[in-house]
């Protein structure tokens, strides 16, 4: 699992050093559906994320990012790695479907604990200026901190994330 984390980290660094196309600054809210095997709605936490999106083909983008969040087990830092597919594009609006893998650490002393997860969702971008857009997204997100089961009966959450953010187009004008 640690290898996946390291690989994700270096992939993120790699794409930060290439010609990234879009930069997202986002706040994620985590209304929650369930924890472990218990379906009980509630609120799981909040995240702040910075993401880069790079075009792969006309419809597909690669998505990488870093997220700080506080959730049920405390504070954590996650690396995001995913794909985004354009579903619709109109004059000022665009809609994308996203699939993201999450790897990182829940920040504890004396040792941090590995966290993994995944998220699928859609993001609507509304172009408000020449190169920047407001974004709003939702989806479904699962996260698990396997080693936290030594301390707690709750070590996984199923959330309905709501993303609100700002997207900046970094692509040069042609």
């Amino acid at each position: 699992m640690k290898n996946i984390l390291i690989l994700s980290f270096f992939l993120t660094l790699f794409y930060w050093n290439t010609n990234a196309q879009k930069l997202h600054l986002e706040t994620h809210l985590f209304p929650s559906l369930a924890y472990q095997n218990t379906f009980e709605t509630g609120y799981n936490g909040t995240a702040f994320a910075i993401e880069y999106q790079k075009t792969l083909t006309s419809d597909w983008d690669l998505l990488t990012g870093l997220e700080y969040s506080f959730v049920g087990w405390g504070n954590q830092g996650l690396v995001e790695l995913g794909l985004s597919r354009n579903l619709m594009k109109k004059e000022k609006l665009s809609l994308n479907a996203e699939l993201t893998l999450l790897n990182g650490l829940a920040w504890f002393r004396p040792k941090s604990l590995y966290v993994w997860g995944g998220m699928v969702g859609v993001t609507l971008a509304w172009n408000v200026r020449k190169r920047s857009s407001l974004t709003l997204g939702t989806g479904i997100r699962y996260t698990q901190c396997p080693a936290y089961k030594d301390y707690s009966r709750i070590y996984s959450y199923l959330d309905i994330p709501i993303h609100i953010g700002w997207q900046i187009d970094l692509e040069k004008d042609e």
């Binding site: 936490g45 504890f108 004396p110 707690s152």
Partner: protein, 252 residues
């Protein structure tokens, strides 16, 4: 380059100040009812009956709430038996949800009296909770904690027990002494044998000799804390003994 260094240092400091202390690994005793959901950990004493007075606990800042299960299980399973609710806080910081206890106290049937307790930052926020909801709580237990300078409980008619440790480097004797002017009538007690009467409208102060800040929970030693001269078990045993007496003398 300067920006990179600055950002790296900033990230490192942020990481360092956001790490929570993990509890020492505990084997959860299945014979004790410990329920847990996203908002709290509930410790219910064995047996069909237990007191109608329950304890609500606020954990210390950046300390995992499970680090208090061991000590509070000792308290919950005393003679009469008391339900204990350990509140889970966002980012493990009670300052982000100081009034959470008011909502939690409404969730349980069969409980007609609530005592709130807290360790360190959790204790300071328990004082804020009581200040904002003076009629909801009858008692307040502080462990290495004191009310913030903006919190004044001098006119509160509840009972206060303040336990602090002699070798604590985070909550000092001087800070505890300063806090006395913000709590109901202060009384210092050294021996538990002197703790015999109801404490309504009073604050009982007791110093645990040789104790330290982190031994109020079970999360090992805290960086920059003092040197303990008693064991964690001894400090927690003394803490629960005084808590139990606090409940007994007030007929809770």
């Amino acid at each position: 380059m300067k920006k990179t260094y600055f950002l790296s240092i900033l990230c490192y400091l942020f990481f360092q100040t956001s790490c929570s202390y993990l509890p020492e690994e505990i084997a959860i005793n299945e014979s004790i009812l410990i329920n847990e959901n996203r908002d709290y950990i509930e410790i219910t004493p064995e047996g069909e009956t237990y007191s109608e007075t329950a304890l609500l606990f606020y954990p210390g800042g950046l300390v995992d709430p499970h680090a208090y299960i061991e000590m509070l299980t000792q308290f919950a399973t005393n003679d009469e038996g008391h339900k204990v609710i350990i509140a889970k806080m966002p980012a493990n910081l009670a300052v982000l949800a100081a009034n959470k206890g008011a909502k939690l106290s409404e969730e349980f049937t069969g409980i007609n009296r609530w005592i709130v307790a807290g360790h360190s930052l959790g204790g300071a926020m328990a004082c804020t909770l009581v200040e904002n909801n003076p009629d909801t709580f009858d008692g307040l237990i502080l462990m290495a904690a004191y009310p913030a300078s903006s919190t004044d409980l001098t006119d509160w008619n509840g009972s206060v027990l303040s336990l602090f440790a002699s070798n604590d480097n985070f909550t000092t004797q001087e800070e505890i002494d300063d806090s006395k002017e913000r709590l109901p009538s202060p009384i210092e007690l050294n021996a538990i044998e002197d703790f015999t009467e109801s404490t309504q409208g009073e604050s009982i102060f007791h110093q645990i000799e040789g104790g330290i800040h982190s031994y109020f929970g079970s999360y090992g030693l805290q960086k920059d804390d003092g040197e303990p001269t008693i064991s964690q078990e001894a400090q927690q045993a003394e803490t629960t003994l005084w808590m139990q007496r606090f409940f007994e003398v007030n007929n809770w």
